[in-house]
Subunit: 378 residues, 2 copies
């Protein structure tokens, strides 16, 4: 009897320890107990009250987990161990994909979507985490009128901490794009770019710069506009950037305006937009980055003919472009490795980075951004 | 036969005209056809694909409308004519309240929530609408470390258009609070305060000022923290404001720092927080506004004893406070009229404003803000 009691106690103890490791996710709304994450096992737990529903699932990291109902109508599920980083997810209630009411929402997957951060260790996460001991820049929401589009638009502009007190000093500018189904909020909400900037500038790893995040006209799913071709999808952004955004930035911020002080980078479809814009406008940009860039249309065996032959003369390109950066997660197949290799083979200088263990997700892009920044404006 | 045909055609024609008046709501995500609003009748139409659901409703303006299923599983509903302005709403799928995937989300009702704008006429809406012909300020997202709370916090800071180019000029500051179940995003996302500021400053109706929007520690529903009393709900915000926010603003912006150049206002619970903070710190604030303020605890028959008797000596109070503003929607019962009358009766100067036809909602607060601003710093 005593032995059974001890075993039961131990079991309770282990159970308590295991439960104690599940803590509310940092992406929850205030006071929400669930979703929870286990900092050791990297599992997530979800809960929703749905007494009248017949079937509830949680869809995360390309897997649907059935949720189980208790006698009060609360449905719960615990996931397998998940990859670290930020994941979009949805609940499926009687066949309808819905947001988790307990989660903050993030514009992704072509709509406002639930998201959860599965934390890395504090040391691993330090570069994109708020550090109270470094000076902090600002992310400024600006409205401007686009002549190209004929309507008001919004962009976010990161200014470094010193900007407020640096008198007439002018700064180089990086134009930084989100991916398909996302918008101009992605880089600072999902990407924590402001923390990456603050931390790198404080450590002297990158130079103080202005970073502009605008809407790439690709926030809906491809196909939502009838008759629109892949080439047309988001293509209006290039003239908007050149004719509206850059002039707006250069007349409203202390921005250096020559090509040697102008960079562009983007993730996924934003990488496609970056190449489309910069490779045909090398008089305006000299630092170029694609993070998991959607560059499938460039056939590695025919790189010399891409973008009107911009890579046909390697010496000329290398003298014009001060940094060309290609990257992706080690677990994805967006072909950045093959493109980098093909470019290297014809003498085009470029830097390749692979994010260990990550997929086509925001942790990959935080890392890519962190690797790209030190190459800029040096 | 011919007559029937003509009638059928006319019927189709009228139907087409009626449908033409339903246009996608301005609060939709990109490319979403629904929800729609009828600019004449002010009805809204909602749609969601839910083939497996048994019952779907839309809950808006305190009424639940049953939605009807077509043979493809698309559920639809058209509302009664709605009050103009911004309304939070939810879909109810088999008993679960969910967001409409086609709507932008807004932090309100203690979570990320769907919202829809039922437009006023362009003339009525002009004061909170982006006007390309006036100079535009910025809304800056800032992170700072709160010693009171022991963690990082976020605030939004509106700076007027001229701020960038006005050299050493310093500005008065208004601290502006959201309501219960909302957060620091409410005033610029739901309230369009940046447009109201830009338009008033351009027209010379208010002076250029800095407006600070921080989190009032009341973004969850009262009761979500066990054992918390009404008096404690959000009360931590007062010391955070005084010890963390104000010093942060005054060391990072060109802010005037005397009481004659510091205002505070808030809506609903933010009005309660405003009174709690300012009435006990009149050495720090001299302009005070409550928009639908949750000031039920102040009994009109005992105003002289409220806030340690701050209103007992009317002459003293009137000489200290340059503007005291009370307001609410004509359709709500938050008692601002009775409080204003009670204060007037004991000689306390105050301005009362009633927003015609509106409820405890954002259009009321846009109007209140618009009325309060010209009183400040004059």
């Amino acid at each position: 009897m005593k032995k059974v009691f001890i075993i039961a106690s131990l079991s309770l103890l282990f159970s308590a320890v295991a439960n104690a490791q599940f803590v509310p996710a940092q992406t929850n709304i205030p006071c929400a107990e669930f979703p929870k994450v286990n900092l050791e096992t990297r599992q997530a737990q979800f809960q929703i009250m749905a007494p009248e529903a017949k079937e509830v699932q949680v869809d995360i990291c390309s897997k649907k987990y059935p949720m189980t109902r208790d006698d009060k109508g609360v449905w719960s599920a615990t996931t397998d161990p998940l990859v670290v980083g930020f994941h979009y997810y949805a609940l499926i209630v009687d066949g309808v994909r819905v947001n988790d009411p307990a989660s903050e929402t993030f514009y992704g997957c072509s709509q406002q979507t639930s998201g959860i951060e599965i934390p890395e260790s504090p040391a691993e996460a330090a570069y994109y985490t708020f550090n109270k001991d470094v000076p902090h820049g600002q992310v400024r929401e600006c409205q401007y009128f686009s002549e190209v589009e004929g309507q008001a638009r919004r962009c976010f502009v990161y200014t470094p901490a010193e900007y407020e007190k640096s008198g007439d000093k002018k700064y180089p500018v990086l134009y930084l794009q989100h991916g398909m189904g996302e918008d101009e909020r992605g880089w600072h909400q999902q990407g924590h770019m402001q923390n990456i900037m603050d931390n790198q500038i404080a450590a002297g790893k990158c130079v103080p710069m202005i970073v502009v995040m605008d809407y790439g006209n690709c926030g809906y799913g491809f196909g939502a506009k009838k008759g629109e071709s892949m080439q047309e999808f988001g293509a209006l952004f290039t003239p908007i950037l050149l004719k509206d955004v850059i002039p707006f930035i250069e007349s409203n911020f202390r921005a250096l305006s020559d090509r040697d002080h102008r960079a562009m980078a983007g993730l996924s479809w934003g990488g496609f937009e970056t190449f489309n814009t910069t490779m045909t406008n090398l008089d305006k940009f000299s630092y170029i980055g694609a993070f998991s860039g959607a560059l499938f249309a460039i056939r590695p065996e025919a790189v010399k003919t891409a973008y009107n032959g911009v890579w046909a003369d390697a010496d000329k390109f290398n003298s014009q472009v001060h940094a060309l950066f290609l990257s992706m997660g080690s677990e994805e197949t967006f072909g950045a490795d093959k493109l980098s290799e093909a470019l290297t083979n014809i003498g085009i200088k470029n830097t390749y980075y692979s994010s260990p263990g990550t997929h086509h997700e925001w942790l990959t892009w935080r890392r890519c951004f962190n690797e790209f920044l030190p190459l800029c404006f040096k």
